[in-house]
């Protein structure tokens, strides 16, 4: 039933994210001619696959997905203190680690579901719009989105356990969202390593992705994704080790 509680607490955010991402995918695919006509290149009309990359997998929809992943990481016991439900929750015969684990697993599942949305919708809607978008491209992006989405979810999850209210946690997570990639990009000795989460996600400068055709040309970077996954697990574990702040009496 703790999963049910975690779901009830996060479902509004999840459904808003789901509706926005699905709507954007629909709009970008179904009205592709209108948008592409405004994106002329020297070679003429922008190829459909490039257009989908620039609008969805490497562009606006990707940004929305990451923001939703961060927002899904908020909540938890510190937020419960604000709602005066913390003592009811802590009086339940359940370990705190289990409380956190159920919230984390629910959030990770929601992030994966949101990442799945474009992977299912884009090839299917494209066929309906008389275009072709290779399913394997979508599935590769799905894997990258899940990995990076989980990492951002985990950072927001940690922030929600550190800060006493959702606004502070959201601010901290957003700062990390903007500062971390900048720090990696601007630090000379870090630049050679694949540490830039946005580049991992959209393929920029990565050997597995051709920036000319915006398509995958090699196997996914499983070692890097494994590392990202480990970091995500470490952040969630760290969050579980933080004490819950209680009111002074």
């Amino acid at each position: 039933m703790l999963f049910y509680k975690a779901w009830l607490e996060s479902r509004s955010r999840f459904f808003i994210g789901l509706i926005v991402i699905a709507a954007l995918c629909c709009v970008f695919v179904l009205f592709h001619e209108l948008f592409r006509s405004r994106m002329q290149t020297t070679r003429g009309t922008l190829p459909y696959q490039d257009y989908i990359y620039l609008r969805v997998y490497g562009g606006f929809v990707r940004g929305i997905f990451l923001l939703v992943a961060i927002v899904l990481g908020l909540g938890g016991l510190n937020a419960e203190r604000g709602r005066n439900t913390l003592m009811f929750t802590l009086a339940l015969p359940v370990r705190r680690g289990y409380l956190l684990a159920t919230r984390a697993m629910t959030g990770l599942a929601e992030v994966a579901t949101l990442a799945l949305l474009p992977a299912l919708l884009i090839p299917w809607l494209s066929a309906g719009a008389g275009q072709v978008y290779p399913a394997f491209q979508s599935w590769n992006f799905f894997v990258l989105w899940v990995a990076i989405g989980w990492a951002l979810f985990a950072s927001a999850f940690l922030a929600s356990c550190v800060f006493e209210n959702d606004y502070s946690a959201l601010t901290a997570a957003l700062i990390a969202f903007y500062i971390y990639p900048l720090a990696v990009a601007r630090t000379p000795f870090l630049r050679p390593y694949p540490l830039h989460i946005h580049y991992i996600m959209n393929g920029t400068g990565m050997p597995y992705f051709d920036p000319q055709t915006h398509s995958f040309v090699g196997p996914l970077p499983w070692a890097i994704l494994g590392g990202v996954l480990l970091v995500s697990v470490a952040l969630i574990y760290l969050a579980s080790q933080l004490p819950v702040r209680m009111d002074r009496s």
Binding site: A91, L92, P93, M246, R248, S249
Partner: protein
């Protein structure tokens, strides 16, 4: 086997930085009793309850609840299966309906009593499909009480249960609490409402500024506690009243008022020996004892 005491704490202390919220308190709560836990705001009642429930760790000292050590997570978790808690703000998940919250809570307790749930639902007339956020405070209290009582807990802990309730809801609550002990539940509750405590409590603990100021049973209060009011014709020697049996005393002009536990006549004789021109002995009420205790320690 039910232990003699469902709560036993010894030297329990909680510090927040330099603030000593609870300071070296020792007490026990007999099984089957209704124990009132009194104190002013900030006296340390809620902090003590949080320590008992394993929500915060004591800085020092030890305690057991239903035989389980409160500072050992695994034991505290086992004890919480048999303990019900109703918080001051009745903070229940606002996004759940009454039915969802009952189903949610029921899933954690194997000894949930569906017939008690049904009886209380009828008695409290709770609307099953209404969201908790739409309930009045009185209704939320009733729901919190239903969630607590439907498990037939060995120990029911309530933090300021009547706070913000109307008189009818308070009466309902007190009746429910009075009936608990007949079902084998020990009740431990903090309150500011002395008349309510006096009505239903068997045992009293008074906490003041983090310290346990007094501990007695209501039987002791009725049988043993007396006020001795001694009038003098000159400035009375209040320090002379620091004798066995005198819980505390204070001087008011030419009068010394002493709260006596036990032989009040002996203290009255002592006052006469000191030159008192008038001595009165009067029964003590809980309200008087409480006010005198917290004033005395201020």
């Amino acid at each position: 086997m039910t232990p003699d005491y469902v709560i036993e704490v010894s030297g329990l202390t909680k510090k927040y930085g330099t603030v000593q919220a609870v300071n070296n308190i020792t007490f026990h709560v007999p099984a089957g009793s209704v124990t009132g836990f009194l104190g002013r705001n900030g006296a340390g009642k809620s902090t003590t309850i949080k320590m008992l429930l394993g929500m915060i760790s004591p800085t020092s000292g030890s305690g057991t609840m239903l035989g389980a050590r409160i500072d050992v997570a695994a034991e505290s978790l086992q004890a919480r299966r048999r303990v019900a808690f109703v918080g001051e703000d009745k903070g229940l998940y606002p996004y759940m309906t009454v039915q969802q919250l009952i189903r949610f809570t029921r899933s954690f307790y194997r000894d949930w009593q569906p017939e008690v749930e049904a009886t209380l639902l009828r008695r409290y007339a709770l609307p099953l499909n209404r969201k908790v956020r739409e309930l009045s405070k009185g209704m939320r209290t009733k729901l919190a009480l239903l969630l607590a009582l439907a498990r037939r807990p060995a120990l029911l802990i309530l933090d300021e249960p009547t706070e913000g309730l109307d008189p009818v809801s308070i009466e309902d609550l007190l009746q429910s609490l009075s009936g608990c002990t007949a079902e084998g539940t020990t009740v431990f509750f903090s309150s500011h409402q002395l008349s309510e405590v006096e009505r239903i409590a068997d045992e009293i603990l008074i906490l003041d500024r983090g310290r346990l100021a007094m501990s007695f049973s209501m039987d002791q209060l009725r049988e043993s506690y007396r006020w001795v009011n001694a009038g003098f014709d000159k400035q009375p020697p209040s320090f002379e009243f620091k004798i066995p049996g005198v819980e505390h005393s204070h001087t008011n002009g030419r009068q010394v008022v002493a709260l006596v536990k036990g032989d009040a006549d002996r203290v009255a004789r002592h006052a006469k020996d000191l030159g008192a021109v008038s001595v009165e002995i009067a029964p003590a009420s809980l309200r008087e004892i409480f006010l005198d205790t917290v004033k005395d320690h201020a």
